[in-house]
Amino acid sequence: MPDNFLEQLLAAKSAEEETKILLKMLPVNISRAAWAVAIPHWFNAEIIAILLPDMAAQAEDLYVQLQRQSFVEPFQDRGHNIHELTRKRILNLWWHERRPEYRRISESAHSFFSSKEGDIHAIEAAYHYLVSMTFDPEDTISRWNRIASQLKTSRQYALVHTLIQNTREHISGGRVPANMEGLVSQWERSFAKELVSIGKQHQKKEDWTSATEILDHAQKLYADLHDEKAQANILIKLGGSYFQKELSDRIFRELEQHKAAIADLNRTTVDSYRSQANLLRFSPSGRMREALSLRMGIIEIDPEDFDSHLAIVSMTKELDGNVPSIYMDKARQYVREGDWYALTCLESVCENFDLAFEHLKRAAQDENFDPAWAWKDPDLQWIRDTPHFLEIVGPKPEE
């Protein structure tokens, strides 16, 4: 028997076929139960009785027997589950070989989980609905919207990811109509937008903890949608919350994560780090060294970033009193041609004062020149305390 069994197993052409042979080796009732409990994400005796009503009387015993199988593992606070590798294979078998029965059991699972209270059960019910006999694609979005509004009330935003991942599980298994992928993405995007708006409301109320949490979820949804631009925009918003919560370590971690991903330079993302570096630099609680580190990180992503090279030169001079020549040379190399204000800043920091004033004269003629900022700009502090500066820029505006 074992040798025949192994021959059959070795002759199997797919992992699914192997699993089918292995399940066949189990006693009939345990095998049947193993097939059924692979359908939900977790199971216990009550769920076994629902999925296999004709075996309800044995449910407790089957539950114990199933726990002895290598492919069954504990599911904290909910019972047990079939290991994800085995489960994936069994679900493929269900779909391709026993679809009507699969739909029928999913229908029972849907009814059962719908009748239970709590967000987790609503999400599990939604998952089973997708392959149930009563599935109606038109109805899916309104169902999800109901769940989403429930999750917004309970603030269990993390479960939205579970809802989406569960649906993707069916999509990747080819078990739902092809247009579901588009529907999921559309819904995910609109929910992410909604989260951004809720996050912004919390920021307005200066509730930085909630804002960070909610915007984090939105960022994860956009990451899932591979929408780098939207992610970058959230990073900008998150930067404000991190800053308020003195969470610059988060900014650095985000930067580390994005370094590789944005090697091809996503301008908006780099801009978000620039604005975060400025927030740190101008923080009243003195966080210039953090700003300096962040600028160093930015030039790793964008080695030709003039603003960051200038900021490094300027901050190092302010903190340590010296001007690092390597960054100064790079700033000269990458300064934008005809950007007289940037040139003024550079020459001011490098103490080429005559040249700085020449550039400042030209900069002041630009319609976008902002005298108020010129009076505040730390890069110009080296030339500000002179009559020449006053003459070009005009008197210091009142606060």
Binding site: P2, D3, F5, L6, L9, L10, E18, L22, M25, L26, P27, I30, H41, W42, R68, Q69, S70, F71, V72, E73, P74, F75, Q76, D77, R78, N81, H83, E84, L85, T86, D119, I120, T153, S154, R155, Q156, Y157, A158, L159, H161, T162, Q165, E213, D216, H217, K220, D249, F252, R253, E256, Q257
Partner: protein, 272 residues
């Protein structure tokens, strides 16, 4: 404490757990990152070590993030329940409950906080109740963890906390772990505390974390240990069959264990 080597060879990994816990090499590492693919046996190893700790009366708590539904208060509740029987943690509970003030509002509903109940007068599911609950939990988390870590730093008690299926933890949980648990595990703070984080996808430690984290992968299963395990489950299986299963499935411990289980359906012992 000493442990009995398990029937199937995971002694190499368990030795690492134990050395870190006992600080026998004392490199200041107190967080072990156990990274490997699906079906390699991470969860079984975590459960095995949990069992071993319980048998040896070492305070241990295991939290599995599978399903992605846990929030920080669930994690805290599990840890608190697991550690409650250990006497030195009485101080934790004292701090926990003395730090959290009862909300000064009228009474119609209950908020549970560990074993304590706070009576609150507000509409159920009102945004306000959730916010209050969140604030209470945040305060209690800090108080309890401070006491826990103070206790370990003073060498009064040893603890093991095991986190499994990290890749399914929500962003909120990951942030909370980083803020409240992992970040507190600096070499300076820790007496005898071992935190194991197991999962498929754990980011590599950076910055200050590098000094207190050790990363390991599961060792490939050796033929002799596989034979030993298979024999214990089904002694009528031929040597050739055992070797053929090993040759074909040695990279998938879960499949190997399932095959042997199927050959011996009445005596199930799981491995992978």
């Amino acid at each position: 404490m000493t442990y009995q080597h398990p029937i199937v060879d995971r002694a190499t990994e368990l030795d690492i757990f134990e050395a870190m816990f006992a600080r026998s090499e004392d490199r200041g590492e107190s967080i072990l990152l156990l990274k490997d693919g699906s079906g390699q046996g991470k969860s079984k190893l975590i459960q095995l070590y949990e069992k071993h700790c319980r048998e040896n009366h070492v305070p241990v708590s295991r939290v599995d993030f599978k399903g992605g539904a846990l929030n920080p208060s669930d994690v805290l509740r599990t840890i608190e329940m697991d550690f409650r029987p250990f006497s030195n943690l009485q101080r934790c509970n004292e701090i926990l409950y003395s730090t959290v003030p009862a909300p000064s509002i009228q009474i119609t509903d209950n908020i549970s906080l560990g074993s304590a109940q706070y009576n609150v007068q507000i509409e159920p599911m009102n945004e306000w109740i959730l916010e209050t609950q969140r604030i209470l939990w945040e305060m209690s988390t800090q108080a309890m963890l401070d006491a826990l870590f103070a206790s370990t730093s003073a060498g009064q008690e040893n603890f093991v906390i095991l986190f499994d299926t990290y890749e399914q933890a929500s962003e909120e949980i990951k942030r909370w772990l980083s803020k409240h648990i992992l970040r507190m595990s600096t070499p300076q703070r820790i007496g005898s505390l071992l935190i194991v984080v197991a999962g498929k996808d754990i980011p590599p430690p950076t910055g200050e974390w590098e000094s207190c984290c050790k990363t390991i992968h599961l060792q490939p299963l050796q033929l002799e240990h596989w034979k030993e395990y298979a024999r214990q489950l089904a002694d009528d299986i031929s040597e050739e069959l055992i070797e053929r299963v090993y040759a074909r499935y040695r990279h998938s411990p879960l499949d190997m264990a399932t095959i042997i289980n199927s050959l011996s359906p009445l005596e199930k012992t799981s491995y992978a």
